[in-house]
Symmetry: C2
Subunit: 495 residues, 2 copies
């Protein structure tokens, strides 16, 4: 058997038996652990070569692990709860309904709504969304308190996400309760919610600053005595880092039988990584919001998280979610909360699939997997090779020449590239500038015998000299550039 | 000794001796490993309580580790190299100089510049920046090729960062060389650069898809035979995840004596987390760019990375970097490449320190460490408590009342809060709306005996009823709301 393609050969039992959960029965877990990095990404231009009996030893490849749920997780989408806590968010009923439907069409497993006790309209909206008949289960997120629970169970939701602060900071400055009080209340509320036949999750708040023994005590109690469906770990303040998340979830996985949900804030940009590490350690559910909107600078963004998981098990992610619907969904939410999509947003940021340096452009044109871990077509997006800069290589120019249907020799293209680079040293180049450069050069071929051709060429030369006094020097270096190309190295650019 | 405050008690040797490096001698390493999560954050309103002989067992606390360089790292700032590969970047000489000076003032240890062979102006700019007399060392990033190296060493830089692709994808589609050729060339170029008395780094490209044995072979050769200052690991395509990074750096740490640099792309949002895990595993240098600009959606952002490290060792980070200069630096670069600061940017995003839900606002007003892991004042920023939404709690309103210098009883503030929440169900509230509400209520007190007061109150009541038919119901629930408050639970809001 090939060690990089057969998950059953890779399981690394590490002392603790895999614990069956409602979402994650052992039989499925054995299969779902076959998360082998890119080797799953088969069936497209981004498929990796697979040589079963001479596997390359790739440090990037995840080791299959009985605990890992990288290929077996659910998304609890909280744009309509955590997202409503975003500074700019004000969702009217119509907007909430449109967002809920778009999330459902994308394929998220759960949609979480604002506490119906927050305001009368929140309660009504909760009822309205429950009646939409969506495939996704509807949850509402309430304080672990009977008053909240009693109101929430009447709205028609499928389940309640209970939360209470457990860190010393929150116990002192937020609710003022002891762990004994929390335990007692939690068991009472859980019992009530279950008596109504609804799903129930119990989560601590600020889990990563809570006392570990307190945490394990309360989770163990709500699991064994309370019989909750899920326990939740929340990095409410965005302090957790990936290896801490792995360790805490791994420890918890050994203490409870129920599913494990994680809620990661993004204050220092680690929310996606933390969510991944939680799944690797055996968590089953991940909270997200569209574009990550939420309190402060928010939580795990849906798009970035899905992109991350796609790199680990492309087939699984594509089977669950309609990825082409991500961009319209993000546009809908961005418009509702009046923000721009960040320039660097995974997948949908304007430059996510733009390639600029010569060395990148050449390789991308030869094979997109060289510099793209995600196929933009999976999300209905396209790539763009930037060729109007001083980092441009001649391969990018060649691709543009072909795109324009022009006929030029490699030698001509290289001459053209040197001039474009010289011009780009002086000013920002528009695509039109570059195309003109090609066309002048083609004109030269077509009308070689005509005096106008030489005149045209002369115009280009003069224009270039005016723009940049160094053209001569650049031309003088062209031989060296050619020699480098002869050795198969790209003209220029960094990586 | 207290296990949470004495690093020497926490070292967890794991089979491999800590390896001394030029940047990281053993004596320093023993001290610098005292990265104990928040417990280092002393000396401000964000200091944590420290009870040495009754430590709370916090799962979030990093275990001190001989390998960890969380408190002993250098930044190689690549805005003027990787950043120039950003789709929108076109830096003229003046802009480069201003960015270089701003980076130096912030305190980064290294500034990396574009390959001087990229264009004639790139070469001249390299020389100009080297002559600025900055505290930061100046590096340039070039292909591992004698032609590049010969030109680069003449520019006056302090060192060269050599790079060559080592993944099968890049060996096939980019440069077409074998590992033997790479090794031979690397040793030749390294020897040349060292003969000029310059610092030299050798990095693979696309390290996480390279063959592990190939990687260790080439790194070992350039370390032992070549005598490089640093080897570099690059996640060129943004595929690596945190535990893989830890494992690879940890393995490499056992194979080379030199420093280890890491370069992490952000395609799926894991660059900051990956950089941190690299330091935890013994890396010494981290590549960043301002706002993370670079190829595609870029690399580890300087601000987010510094924020992450600040949560782990506040004193160390504040001693190295002038954090108040981060925002002007980001503004300078954002303006130069014509982008907006992302709404969710760590630290400087517009909502990074905005608190909205009632439960958050109450606790933040009592003690900011409840929901802030970073003190905004460290970066010269301020927090903002949002109080004009249906998630508003009465504590936020109380804070605004005090800010306005009004005198109201708690009971009045709670009445006022209920009305604000009812209004917010119907439309977006401006701050002016809220302030008017307070002022009406204060007016009522001041003119209790006067008929105008009742009239004013009546106007407010009528306005509210028109805006929202449910005011009666909200008022009807006020007793319950009061009762909840009596128990020390915030009126509403989620966390």
């Amino acid at each position: 058997m090939c060690p990089t393609c057969d998950a059953s050969q890779q399981g690394v039992p590490n002392g603790t038996p895999a614990i069956p959960t409602s979402q994650n029965p052992p039989a499925i877990n054995g299969t779902s652990s076959a998360s082998n990095g890119l080797t799953n990404g088969s069936g497209s231009g981004h498929a990796q070569e697979h040589t079963p009996h001479n596997p390359r030893r790739q440090p990037f490849a995840s080791v299959g692990d009985y605990l890992s749920n990288v290929s077996n997780f659910s998304i609890i989408e909280s744009t309509l709860r955590e997202g409503e806590q975003f500074a700019n968010a004000f969702f009217d009923t119509d907007t909430k309904v449109r967002i809920a439907k778009a999330l459902d069409a994308f394929g998220v497993e759960y949609i979480e709504l604002t506490n119906p006790t927050s305001s009368e309209q929140s309660r009504k909206d909760c009822e309205i969304i429950c009646k939409l008949g969506l495939k996704a289960k509807i949850l509402t997120h309430v304080r672990c308190h009977m008053d909240d629970a009693k109101l929430a169970v009447e709205t028609g939701v499928d389940g309640l996400d209970l939360v209470i602060g457990t860190s010393p900071q929150l116990m002192q400055h937020s609710h003022g309760k002891t762990m004994d009080y929390i335990r007692e209340t939690a068991l009472e509320v859980i019992s009530f919610v279950k008596s109504k036949g609804l799903e129930v999750r119990f989560s601590s708040e600020d889990s990563f600053r809570s006392d570990l023994v307190d945490l394990l005590n309360i989770y163990s109690a709500v699991d064994r005595i309370g019989g909750v469906n899920r326990v939740g770990i929340a990095d409410t303040i965005g302090v957790a880092n990936p290896r801490q998340v792995y360790d805490l979830v791994r420890t918890l996985r050994g203490c409870v039988h129920c599913d494990i949900e994680t809620h990661m804030h993004n204050d220092t940009g680690c929310a996606i990584a933390n969510s991944l590490c939680a799944l690797e350690a055996g968590a089953t559910h991940v909270d997200t919001s569209v574009l990550g909107i939420g309190e402060r600078n928010g939580i795990t963004p849906l798009g970035g998280f899905v992109a991350r998981m796609l790199t680990l098990d492309r087939d699984y992610v594509r089977s669950k979610y309609d990825l082409a619907k991500l961009k319209p969904l993000e546009d809908l939410v961005a418009s509702a909360v009046e923000i721009n999509i960040p320039f660097n947003n995974p997948v949908t940021g304007f430059c996510a699939f733009t390639h600029k340096a010569g060395i990148h452009a050449k390789a991308i044109l030869a094979n997109p997997t060289t510099y793209e871990i995600i196929n933009p077509a999976d999300f209905g997006m396209t790539r763009y090779v930037h060729f109007a800069s001083r980092l441009t290589g001649w391969n990018a120019i060649k691709s543009r020449v072909e795109q324009l249907g022009l006929v030029m020799t490699d030698s001509q293209i290289k001459q053209c590239t040197a001039k474009i680079k010289a011009m780009a040293d002086v000013r920002h180049l528009a695509i039109e500038d570059i195309d003109k450069k090609h066309q002048f050069q083609v004109k030269e071929q077509e009308m070689a015998a005509e005096p106008e051709a030489r005149e045209l060429d002369h115009v280009v030369e003069e224009q270039t000299k005016v723009l940049n006094g160094v053209v001569g020097e650049v031309d003088g270096r062209e031989e060296k550039v050619e020699a480098l190309n002869g050795e198969g190295v790209v003209v220029n650019g960094t990586a």
